[in-house]
Amino acid sequence: MHRSATVFALALALPAVDPQSAAAMPLVADLSSREIAITTGFSGADLLLFGATDGEGDVVVVVRGPVRREVVRRKERIAGIWLNGTSVAFDDVPGFYFIASSRPLDQVTPPETLRKLQIGVAHLSLPTASAHDKDRAESFRSGLRRAMVARNLYSETAAPVAVLGNRLFRTEIRFPANVPTGVYTAETYLFRGGQLTGSTKTPVIVRKAGVEARIFDFAQEQAALYGVVAIVVALVAGWLAGLMFRKA
């Protein structure tokens, strides 16, 4: 109940298309679905982002996952054993980052613009949580980027955006099975001659659904009772197995 109310409020707060007439806008975009439900058989999901422009231009699509603090630890070798050594904490780290572009990014717009809009994994600002760590953070920051790419959570290179007749465009967004839950934003940018001429933002909700959601909430909210249930389930399973042993 509580969750669906939040989803509804978000959908109202961040409309995909501004309430002006669509004809006056250089860019409109929408998704095949605004919600990804993680259920028992979940093995990742594909969403289709599609839209139209009012003429020629480069289309860039960025999907950002919910941000959180992430601690990056450097492995150090002590007495032949690799262990976690120094660590740096980063704030505002998106749990997911997808990018697609109709042309290679460096041909779309200058790097300053990409950095300002945080387009491309290399241009994510990823500030350190503590000002102390500023100077030594760079190697940790690129380690963080690589770790997220290795987990298929960040896309290293831009996926293609297909453009039809300089008007319609579409791209497929792949969400792997390990996506974090939360509110995502799908942003679409239109560039002309390197200048940003339009952008839209659409929220996407990734949430656990069905039995999975109930088990997870149960474990988080009523941890003691969950522990008791886990024990009882195991004892009954063991007892039943014991009965089978005797019969066999």
């Binding site: 979940f42 630890r73 976690n84 660590s87 390990n178 039995v211 474990a219």
Partner: protein, 306 residues
Amino acid sequence: MQVYLPIAEISLNALLLLGLGGMVGFLSGMFGVGGGFLMTPLLIFIGVPPAVAVGTEANQVVASSASGALAHWRRGNVDLKMGILLLAGGFLGSSFGVWLFTSLRQLGQLDLVIALCYVAFLGIIGALMVAESGRAWLRSHISAMPRRKLHRHTWMHGLPFKMRFRRSKLYISALLPVSIGFFVGILSAIMGVGGGFIMVPAMIYLLGMPTSVVIGTSLFQIIFVTANVTFLQSLNNQTVDIVLALLLVLGSVVGAQLGTRFGMRLRSEHLRGLLGAIVLAVAGRVAFDLTVTPESLFDLGGERRH
């Protein structure tokens, strides 16, 4: 068939998990061990986060030891007095172990400590088992080997709080079973094992209990200690995945049946030698992972997500 595990937050093949449960169940039925020491590293190897692997495995051991303990209880192979003292130590030890687990997780050193515990304890126990079965093999082939004395009086018999254990035919200090239980409880919480592989040799060689009551009594203790670990891990760390545990239990129930039948055909010193070799292989594998240069020098984690 992919199944999304709600606590581990990854998607794994259900048949793979059933198969793993079956394989470990087969070995545990064959050798009469819980199998936690094999299952936890295997779960970590297929991508389950170490903290979840340890918490969930404790839950699975509750199920597997419950069915084993019932069978031994019916045959009267449980020394209840000894079991309760072991359990008292086990409760303290496992509670302390879960507290240690939580602190190490916050420090980001949990994975390392889990791995080091595996290398140390499996290495020692595996080597002892192989050596012991080698000696037994020698004894059966060379009859001139000197026999060990049945009872040796050591410092342990001078400890206070002596108690009589009728089922085990022992008169020893209550401190001994309590401290063995305490130590095994800590390992149970940190390694996600029942601890039978340490407790059984300790009961035979340190306490001098008769072999007939050792397995039943240790299983009796393991049910309650792993139940305590399951409860505390759920409460403090939310790392018990019921879906994963159930899949493993299903597989291991079937595997254990087959394993028990197969094990009866083998000679006991061969069984012990084989089990020792498997234990050593697991220790070697974990040690290899610790020392090999990692693909990435940077790792994420240590901070709670919610």
